[in-house]
Symmetry: C2
Amino acid sequence: MSSPRRVGSQTSRTRDQLLDCAEQLMIEKGYAHVTYRAVAARAGVTAGLVQYYFPKLDDLFIAEIRRRSEQNLDRLVALLDAHADEPLRVLWEYSRDEATAALTTEFIALGNHRPSIRAEIADVTDKVRRVQLEALAARYGTTGISLGALPPAALLFLLTGIPKLIRLEEGVGVSTTHGEAVRAFESFLDSVEPASRPKAKKPTKRAPAAKRSR
Amino acid sequence: MSSPRRVGSQTSRTRDQLLDCAEQLMIEKGYAHVTYRAVAARAGVTAGLVQYYFPKLDDLFIAEIRRRSEQNLDRLVALLDAHADEPLRVLWEYSRDEATAALTTEFIALGNHRPSIRAEIADVTDKVRRVQLEALAARYGTTGISLGALPPAALLFLLTGIPKLIRLEEGVGVSTTHGEAVRAFESFLDSVEPASRPKAKKPTKRAPAAKRSR
DNA sequence: GTCTATACGGCGATAGAC
DNA sequence: GTCTATCGCCGTATAGAC
């Protein structure tokens, strides 16, 4: 047996710092600018070392996705727990939170033609959706109850999808009709879950808004 | 004055063929695989010639976007004209047509951090949306009439956005809740615009479904 | 106006030295 | 555990042939 390629340990502090740098680069300049050399330069190490921890560039991206999505899932579960009486509002606000939206878009684009990354995204997307559906079912049951005759799955799709769409369009510089769409949906929310608390509270300090390379 | 770089004419037949090859490559393997050398190989010419017509790679992508979106806009206008009594159904079916969806996703990802391409996408997106809004206003007026109390802009956003979302998720291999969402929305459509003709007719033969590089 | 040949530096990836 | 050398691709630029 020829020994396979050597790889740095997953618990290395260096490894975690490299992931931080990669994430920053990705937010600021897009995944195309996340290169071994660029990450290394930002972290103050050699490119070879980055490759030691992430033999393929995809390994880096996958590690990034996994780390991020675990944080996000934890946060979502905590929010749904804390406001179990108004899951719709929680999901809506959670989806509108822009902190991780820029990264998500980046990852989707990245996964579009890269099987290993696509699989990772599909995995976390499904996991999140299951949690969301459970929260809806716990509060409103599994049938299409009030909710404008919408079955829970369809409602969930709107609730989390519309903010995603808006971000996507904002990303290319389009904003037509966004305001109307948001207002319409929020007034529907108001009718189903009369606002007790206006916003899902922020769990922690987030990174400043991503600067785009315009 | 040093003469600027020379560029091939916009009416060249060769140029059009190069665009065809680039589009095929993009659908089959993603924009990352659209390279001067790859396009040239498919077209049976040298890489230098591709560069002669498209000095920067972005020039190629922009030309591709422009050509495609003009075709699509023409098609949309024709459909709306032919079925002026049921614009909702036309927009829904048009948005669900997958022929150009793979390309659209690709372009959005591409434009995410490339200003010139982003500008091009924003331009055509706005243009299309204006046409769509006009069609809605012509049939239903500009106020939020019936339509589930949704203002036209919000309705339009759902109508064209949901199919886009579904494609996006399909692209990464997620399909949970898609069926329910489509069914729910179509039954709403049925209630507003009782189906006379079930589908927006196809304008012409389309390319076979894109093979994904799984 | 069309097209070819050639060169440059940056990239992902690999094998292997320290 | 860390880093270097090397390979074959890439975008881009330029000079010049038909």
